[in-house]
Structure formats: C-alpha cells, structure tokens
Amino acid sequence: MKAVTANRLIDGEVVFWKEGAWVDGFGDAQLFDDAQGEEVEAAVAAGKAAPTVIVDPYPIDLITVEGLGLAPVSYRERIRALGPTNELLHGKQAEGGAVVEAIRHASGAARSTGRVDLIRRK
C-alpha cells in the first residue's frame, strides 16, 4: 500500500493526499494498492502542479500493523505522521486515537533485529 505526502507551504504542516485535496491526518490519507501506480503518480503530479499549496510531494510505503491498521513503513515517515517522540503532546499525535496507536506500534522494516515498538518511548 502507498499514500502520498508533502509539507504545506504556508505553515510546513505534514499533509497527505486525499482525492484531490491535502489533509492533515494520516488516518484520512487516500490509500493506493500496488496496482494503482498511475494514481500515485497522478497525485504526486497534482502536488507538483500546486506549488503555492504544498512543497515536495512524494509517495510513501505503508505496512499493516497486526490488528491495528496501517502505518508508514519508514520510521522517518512515522515520526512525520505522529510528531516528535520527545514531546508526545506536540504534532499530530496529540489528538491520540486508533490511527496514532497503530503508527506507534508499527515495527517498520525491522529486517535486521525484528525489534518492535521502534519509536515508542521506553
């Protein structure tokens, strides 16, 4: 699965593509499956065609978090979708909810150690 993300020009906020618009929450992002490569490209192109709205649109890979939902596969993208891990009330994570929990429990690529809870604070 994939989503398309960018930063909003006017305030730098992390945003996600949703059917022709840019929304704040990862939970509202439009999801593309592997067969929808052209739609992903179209969303990125739409972002590039709106340079007064957003900066630097790009697609991100998603993974399924067992029983919880979807999360970005890269921890960098998970931090973007949540907010900084040193201030848990800053950024999008402040709202809480199921989407935030799913991202917090994602174990990402986890190829080398199988470690989970990569960005949850101890």
């Binding site: 930063n7 020009l9 006017i10 305030d11 730098g12 906020e13 992390v14 340079p51 007064t52 900066v55 630097d56 596969v73 890269s74 921890y75 960098r76 931090i79 973007r80 907010g83 900084p84 891990t85 040193n86 201030e87 800053h90 950024g91 990402g108 690529a109 986890a110 190829r111 080398s112 150690t113 470690r115 990569l118 960005i119 604070r121 101890k122």
Partner: protein
Amino acid sequence: MYQYDVIDREFLTDRSNEFRHQVTRRLAGDLTEDQFKPLRLMNGLYLQLHAYMLRVAIPYGSLNSRQARRLAWIARTYDKGYGHMTTRQNIQFNWIKLKDAPDILDALAEVDLHAIQTSGNCIRNTTADPYAGATAEEIDDPRVWSEVIRQWSTLHPEFSYLPRKFKIAITGALTDRAAVKVHDIGLILRRARDGSLGFEVIVGGGQGRTPYVGPTIKHHLPASSLLSYLEAVLRVYNRHGRRDNIYKARIKILVAALGAEEFGRQVEEEWAKIDQSRADLGDQELARIRGAFAQTPFETLPARSEAFEAAKAASPSLARFARNNVKAHKKPGYAIVEVSLKAVGQTPGDATADQLDVVADLAERYSLDDLRVTHAQNLVLPHVKLDDLPAVHAALEAAGLATANIDLISDIIACPGLDYCALANARAIPIAQDIAKTFADPDRAETIGELKIKISGCINACGHHHVAHIGILGVDKKGEEFYQLSLGGSGAEDASIGKILGPALAADRVAPAIDTLVDTYLAARQGEERFLDTYRRVGLEPFKEAVYAQAD
C-alpha cells in the same frame, strides 16, 4: 555589551521588509520553491519534518534580558513554548509557520536580533568563549573580535557565495570552551613575548563526514591585522575550494589537500596583495567596539562571601551546585554560574518560554543584564555576586534549572535528530534521555567526573560526536536506528577526533553500553584521571572488549 546603532537597526528593518516581500511573492506563486529556498535559508528559515524551523543568531552567544524575554515571547507566541539552544550558541524554534516568519523577524529586529547568515554558504555566526569578559584566564575579550568579525562578515558581498558554509570561533583563554580547533577558522588570542596582542590562527578544522583537528597556519598574527588576514584566507578558499562536490567543499578539504604549510604560504601571498590600511579596522573604530564591552560596572567586593559560605554549609543541593556549576570569576566576590539545560528527562538544550523568562529576570537582577549560550547547549549567568548565589540557585531550582551536572555524564550534547531534522538518520534526543536516566544519581555522576557525551543523528555532526569523550552517531542500518560509539574525542584545548569502538548498537543497547564503558573506566582509573585521560592511557581495547564481550 555591544549596542546596535542607527545603521545596524535600519539594516535589520530593511532586511525584514525585504523578506516579508519575498514571502508574499512565494505565497502568490511569483517565486518558485527553488527560487525561494535560498532566500529563506539566508534568513535562517529551514523546512524540517513537521514545520519550518527558524534559527536565530545569538552573536557570540551573548544576550541581554530584553532579548531573552523576546525569545521567550516568540517561543510562546509562534512556537509550542520552547527554544532549543544549538552547538553554535544560537537558538532554534521548531514549530514556525512561513506566514509568521516576517512578523518574527520584525519582533527580533526590535531587540537587535536577527537570523541573517544562520544558514547558507556564508560566514556564519562567530562563536566565542561563553565566559568572555568574566574569566580570569582571559588574555583579551573575544567578544570584541567576534563583534569586529560580525560587522565585517555580515552580507559581505565577496563572501556570500562561498563553496560551503564557514564557521569561525574565538577564545581568549587557554581553556578552550569554544572548540576552536574544529572550526573552519579557530582563533586563540595570545600575547607575544613583547606583550603585543595577536592571534594563533588555526584553519581547516571541522567535523561532519571528514573530521579534522585544524592545523595552525600562523602562530602570531598581530591583532590589528585580523580582518586583512581573514580576507586572505577566505579569498584563497573562495578561489580554490571545491564547488563540484558538496562533501569536499569545506575549507578543511582544501587545507588537507594542499597541506597546512602550502595553504599558509598561499594565504601569505594573498595577504601581501591586500592593502591593509583599507582592509583592517582603524584604531578608532576598534576602540569604539572595545568600549562597548569595557563598561561592565563591577563592584569592589571581598573575595569571600560569608552569606554564600553559610548557605552552602546548610544546603547540600547548593553545595553540589557550587561544586559543578559555579566557576571562578576574574573579579573578587563574583562567580560565573552555568545554568544546565540537561535535567533528567529534558530535551538537551531546550528551555521553555517560562524558563527563558526566569533566566532573563535573573540576568537582569543578578548578572549585570548579561546572559550567555554555550556551545554545550547550556546557559551562563556570567557575573553573579557570591552573595547572590543562594538566591540565584533558589530561583533556578524553582524553575527546574538547577541541575548540578555541568561537564558531567548527563550534560549531554544532542542535536534535534530525527525527531525534528529533515537530514537526520536517527533520533538523538531519546538516546540522551536514556543515558541521563541511567546516570541520574548525582553522587555517581560526580564520582565519574568530567565525561562529555555528544550525540549526532547523522554524519553532519551538529551534535559534535567526533569530539566527544564518548561520541554517539545515529545511523540508518537496514531501515532501523543504530548507533555507532566512538571514544577519545575532545573539542577542548586537547582536541582530538574519537575512534570508532566497534559495530553500531541498537537503540536500547546504547545506555547499557555507556554503563559498561564507565565501569571499565572506573576500574582502570588512576588517581584523578578523567575518562578521557584513562582512555588515552589504556587505549580502545579494554573498552571494546568490555562492550562487545557482553554482547556475545
């Protein structure tokens, strides 16, 4: 401290208005992002992971209370209530909106602050000993020369498009609190045998991907020739520095490629062509700038304060604070007070708006309206009367700012890392917090003694990991955060680059590994040795064996 004049102020107002116009044009679509990005960077505005980040210059780390209160107000009004002190004595705000940036620059300009040259391939904010004007060790006040460089280098047309960024640091004391040997240019004020004032000039130090302790290319540059000589150094660099490869563009690569001797020779050749009567500062102008720093109204006081001694005897926490955070002042009856921004659980270098206000009040009331930021991400009240130390300590304690750990194991430098920074590979802050928690016992920390841990979230080394007694570098290993430890670095007068201990460790193994390193050191320590001394005596192997044997 130096006071801006009419020219300085008009200049800042013009600059702020110009940036407002540029932002308007960007939002209207008249400038593309590619066109706008270098313009915003010239005003210290980066686009990071969650928002824009504004880096505000604090020239040589020196603030008055009005400026500190304005920074607090900006943190409260435009950020989420925090300011982050950087390893270049600047302050960063992590949650800035582009639309607010011009208003913030206006608010800064009102108190003689700005964000000019806090980014870009230009001469950045010159850093200096945060004890300047307060330490008895000082041969001359480095702020005078930092201010000379600030005025000379600000929007200098010849040096606004260098091959890469350019950082200068100055110390007037032999104890180096400004890391001068790992800067593009490091300047150490010295007196020659005949008493004349001069600089030892170190060129081509640096950290990042290719760390170097800089070589000295001139042992005694007459102080009055500083600007012409800097011009010659910059000119040689501007001409020959590599612009084809960003990783080889810093002056350190050029100096290493040519050799210090040849580089120095080319600088001398260039210097001889410069009309020094034009390039160097006249005596009158130098005296004007020097005068701004010479007027500190110290009182004549006894060297010992009975009030302080009595309070110290009655309060173990004040006694601990005095042992670790209070440093000798050049004037009898005064002390230099370090304010740690490294409480257990805190983000290293972060101060809340309320804390900034408290420190501003203390600076105004007790420290001759003077406040400093250190490159170790702490604050300094440089001129506190010994009599006032109990009151200052109590006020700091009430604000959560009395952590007595300066230069101890929990006084950790950490860059913002992947929690904020678009360049980072791994987080730095949670690692620092883990280590601080592991060594939260203040008695144990004092037993361990001076131990400088520095963490960077990527190879750019904003967290100075190369020059840490224990350096920690975050790396992305197959999609996960791993941390490479190095030992034996120093950014002080005994500068050295750390050596890599072994394979990188997973995040949850870093603090236990530090614990093992400390145990190994304590077992091997002789006499009063610091960790660094023991490491230099016994070498890497015992530490390596201890950490990696445990892993097997």
